[in-house]
Symmetry: C2
Subunit: 367 residues, 2 copies
Amino acid sequence: MNMFEERLRKLQALMEVSGVDLTVVGPGADMLYLTGFSDEARERPLLLMIPVEGAPRFLVPELYAHQVEEVAAFPPTHVWSDSQGPEAALREAVRGLEAERVAVDDDLAARAVLLLQDALPRASFSLASPLLKELRMRKSPGELELMERAAAIVDRSFLRVLENVTFFGRTEREVARDLEGIVLEEGAAGMAFETLVASGPNSALPHHRAGERRIEFGDVVILDFGCRVGGYCSDITRTVVCGEPTPRMREVHRVILEAQEEGVRTARPGIPAQEVDRAVRGVISRAGFGEWFVHRTGHGIGLEVHEEPYIVEGNPLSLEEGMTFSVEPGIYLPGAFGIRVEDIVVVESGGARRLNRCPRELVAVAR
Amino acid sequence: MNMFEERLRKLQALMEVSGVDLTVVGPGADMLYLTGFSDEARERPLLLMIPVEGAPRFLVPELYAHQVEEVAAFPPTHVWSDSQGPEAALREAVRGLEAERVAVDDDLAARAVLLLQDALPRASFSLASPLLKELRMRKSPGELELMERAAAIVDRSFLRVLENVTFFGRTEREVARDLEGIVLEEGAAGMAFETLVASGPNSALPHHRAGERRIEFGDVVILDFGCRVGGYCSDITRTVVCGEPTPRMREVHRVILEAQEEGVRTARPGIPAQEVDRAVRGVISRAGFGEWFVHRTGHGIGLEVHEEPYIVEGNPLSLEEGMTFSVEPGIYLPGAFGIRVEDIVVVESGGARRLNRCPRELVAVAR
């Protein structure tokens, strides 16, 4: 039995237990995981439909039929053309399934969700992530190897950025472009997401992208980037200072490092995900910065940059061996600066192990 | 009244006419169009909710609250944190709306669609594109100016690619990277989509990405790329040959040029979108290649690379001044080669005008 057939059987077994009759997945990480194929196909419904028993049904726009046939583990069973539209082919594809409970891929676009609800008017719909996360969140040795390679690339790249990239006087976007060039040179198949370079007051905006602001002496600069190897992602954040850090910057950075360390120390098999968040948040709150840590502690990572398990208050999920996620506390002082440090860890029998190994200190870059 | 208030009023007027009580838009082009803000916020619901009357309600994850406040035309009204989750804030946000008919953004993720269906269990759901396309598909002079700039950048870039990029012996991905470097140097804010470089037999796969195949002498190479300026996209396809084109390649290319010309000639105010597709398809079919033209003739373009109006059989929409779309016939001979040529046009009172002006001939590149 090949890898994809094994994943299919596991999914069908989970569906059986959960009382789900049909799982529907659109282009994206779930499809990649289940078939080896993915693509964007945004406005044309391309749906892998997995009944609780039997072979998948695969609704494919004509434009993609050849590629699906070549690449995917399962053949297209219902092909539709632009001039026909997908409705009739979809009705044909679900014929005879008697699906009462349908689970859909969390990212499936509304255009496909409403189309499915039309084709299966008596079915009740829920999200497929509870099923798929069960499969995807525990990484196999083969998956981990790709993630280690992706992590090693961003580690090496960060060191080269410190050595070779000029910060002072350049825009965030220019720094991001240099950094991405280095990551690609180091052997990445591509970036995992748009690189964040947040300088000066922008560093206090947790999701600021790289923009046109020019970096000045004295600026904090947050670098948050990741790459892909064989479909699997890395993700790292380091904070540097262009020039000399102030005592306040050093203080906040020390709290972040301690919080991050505490998070990594807390994570091990059997610990609920939210306990890791609490441990990290505890350090930051005791230091008096609790109200400025405005996001969760971390997110799972694998074929997607953000996936299960989320390391957040309210998530009682017990951590298990093979789970991979970020530990990334941040403190954001509006109008002043922000600091964040992020590593990816994998849970092993003895505790969490960092996949990222490059230095976490607050580095002062002199140019 | 500012531009965003004007767009809001127009949308509410359309909702009134269509009997829609509530329009819900997630991060993406529609949100950018309506508020000036967009972001990815993938797994955290971030929803602009527009009732048929009154001010928008804006459900925003805490992490994005500051950015929405700074950038968006409308303030966040319901902020939720990772530890609370979005459910309660969403129920609060829709309280008192009595929404029976809800239109959702076509790209809205299933996780948000099902959340809304839970919060509004008696409402019926439809797609918002019929409303939003009415607003977005006729471009204002300001929008057209940005699209002309984006088109001029890819035109200049193509000429520089012909002059400076080596094809022979290099991988599709390497050529794509060179091309993207040129486009960014020419002043683009970013690429509009992942550049396609399809060489040799790969050129017969309409949606092949740039891969690891090395380009050989005699290969057809399709280049399909676009960039963004001020949020607005360009998109162009040219086909070149590395070495000398065969008579068969010349023949197919001649048919494509004629079909493309016929499409541009056909498009003008009052003509149904599908007539443009028929005109293009007619030329290709009469030349005997009908079965190898496996996709629609074109797609609208603006804040998204693919948007309304789609130039496809079955779309009776009357073209109007200000509409912008691609005319991109392709012929794909499996296992052999494919040829596609694409320009963006804008419909004006006298007919369609090409925004792309660089040569469309089959160029033989000698390296």
